[in-house]
Symmetry: C2
Subunit: 340 residues, 2 copies
């Protein structure tokens, strides 16, 4: 009888908010790598907000996860069998291996990791989230020394990269985060100039006043990864010729936080009057730039001038609960699940 | 006693829709040009949607017209007195001379016109509106042959420039206009591939179907100058990496056409999923590019490959009524008022 592995599949699609009932843990046989494939025993998997979008079947930038299929995730682990040149048992590799204890992929879909660097950094600071922050800030945000940047989810892996890179480039950086602890972390751990606790303000108007107090010269770059109240608060603070890289809107992923009135005319007017540039981007379009990202960021991570936080949960069976908690902002730093 | 001139001043600010009561015709003495100034007898003045914004005192990209001050307008006319080198009586000149029969400006604020070209073209096809279309299309729209462009107010001076330039560059061009006559004009006079009558569709959804039928490959560039229902109809048709130059939103200038629900989350999602680029621009920021515009467009106007329509009303006293009619789409082509 074949050795068995575990995986988490999408049990059904959520109508509104996602819940534990939409996931199912299954046991299946560990596959044997075909010609050109590599089998990996997963040690750590990544949980990211984009996965919520994969659970719906609305038109999106990627194919939804099929009901009954394994949830998608980036993960790192140890090669335990290889049927491809370039990979050998004992190697450490990254790939889109899924919510599972094991994964089998063509070698072309795996990246071998430098064993001298902690493997989990390939899921966060030196992986997709860090790259998202770097690309959006540098290519769309076009930061200039002396400008002011606002970024939400400030202690998350995207926000903390954006803020730290912007500080290195001489900008004033105002974070937004949920709770006093995270705000303290944004300033003390990540070196933000200030961080505003959005949970301390009931209305967008009050939140706006708090942000404005920390951004006395207005906002030149709003790195948009949350939408909702934070967007509503920040947009009117934009300076002329401001830039808004847009890579997420977690506040709206589950249909919450909608306004009673149509905000679009006001937003449109703001874009016109202030000559704003809003640019949506999906990081998977830009993986040709990944080497440029690593070239700039890896030395900063090595010397500590860019730091990172990881929130490591234990066990694949806890991945759904951990994921739901993260969607509500319950994580502290890059959310990872330790698998083995 | 000094010779008298007429001018139209802003009598009061509109709360909602603008009406005749917000304007007042006045007689004042014709000024004498001071050192460096030039006096112009206005022959034609321009009416443009942006003037509606100047009547409000909301924060905008330009100072509002003060209550009691002359309404702002570009105009052309004949120099009748000059106290500046480079201008002599009999010259034809363009400047921001206002809603008036005469205007006196520093010579540095006037542009001498080639008398062999109809002076009114400096108000439309070879003036600010044409330049707006050219800049937004080429610099923000970044058109590529084979793509599809949608532009509203298709027979107006901005829309018709955008459409004709896009056709010259090998795009499929779908116009949107109010009424069957204008749609016919967009196709027959301006060479659009198709034009959809937005008045024939009550809902954004129905309008969307009609546009989609004329844009079978989706929309790559939506040149945004109207907002409202047309925006709501067109946005979901955008292809990935689509561009939206945004220079106006006439549908929302007077607070009409607001949706009962908040459209912002849906729009934001669309910008993300389709990696759209929305870029607000104000043409007065870019006058350094005016010579480039004329260099490209003037030969096309001369040889007829770019054509234009003018709607010429008679008499300064009729300017307010003509302006209000234009805001409702009652003009056919570039709205001009013949002054003398």
């Amino acid at each position: 009888m074949a050795d068995m592995m575990k995986q988490v599949v999408l049990a059904s699609r959520p109508a509104g908010a996602a819940g534990l009932e939409h996931f199912r843990l299954e046991e299946v046989a560990i596959p044997t790598p075909a010609d050109g494939e590599v089998l990996v025993r997963i040690t750590h998997m990544s949980l990211d907000p984009y996965m919520r979008g994969r659970m719906d079947d609305a038109k999106s930038y990627a194919t939804p996860v099929a009901v009954g299929a394994t949830m998608e995730a980036g993960a790192v682990g140890e090669v335990i069998a290889s049927n491809a040149p370039g990979f050998a048992p004992g190697d450490t590799a990254f790939g889109m291996l899924g919510w599972a204890t094991h994964g089998c992929l063509p070698a072309t879909h795996l990246r071998k990791l430098d064993p001298s660097i902690p493997a989990t950094t390939a899921l966060g600071v030196m992986g997709m989230p860090g790259f998202t922050g770097w690309y959006g800030l540098t290519e769309i945000g076009k930061p200039k020394a002396g400008e002011t940047l606002v970024v939400a989810a400030a202690t998350g892996p995207v926000g903390s990269m954006v803020g730290q890179l912007a500080k290195l480039r001489g900008l004033r950086v105002v974070g937004i985060a949920g709770g006093a602890d995270k705000c303290k972390q944004a300033v003390e751990t990540f070196g933000f100039d200030a961080c505003v606790d959005h949970r301390a303000y009931d209305t967008a108007r009050d939140l706006r006043k708090a942000i404005a107090a920390e951004a006395p010269d207005g906002v030149d770059i709003y790195f948009e990864n949350v939408g909702g109240k934070v967007l509503e608060a920040t947009l009117p603070l934009m300076n002329t010729f401001g830039r808004i890289p847009l890579c997420g809107m977690i506040a709206w992923y589950e249909g919450a936080e909608t306004s009673a009135t149509d905000q679009l005319p006001r937003v449109w007017r703001n874009v016109l009057v202030n000559r704003l540039c809003i640019n949506g981007f999906i990081i998977s379009d830009h993986f040709d730039r990944f080497p440029d990202f690593l070239k700039e960021v890896a030395p900063h991570v090595a010397d500590g001038s860019i730091t990172y936080l990881e929130d490591v949960a234990e066990g694949l069976e806890n991945a759904p609960e951990t994921f739901l908690r993260m969607l509500k902002g319950g994580n502290k730093g890059k959310q990872i699940v330790k698998i083995s």
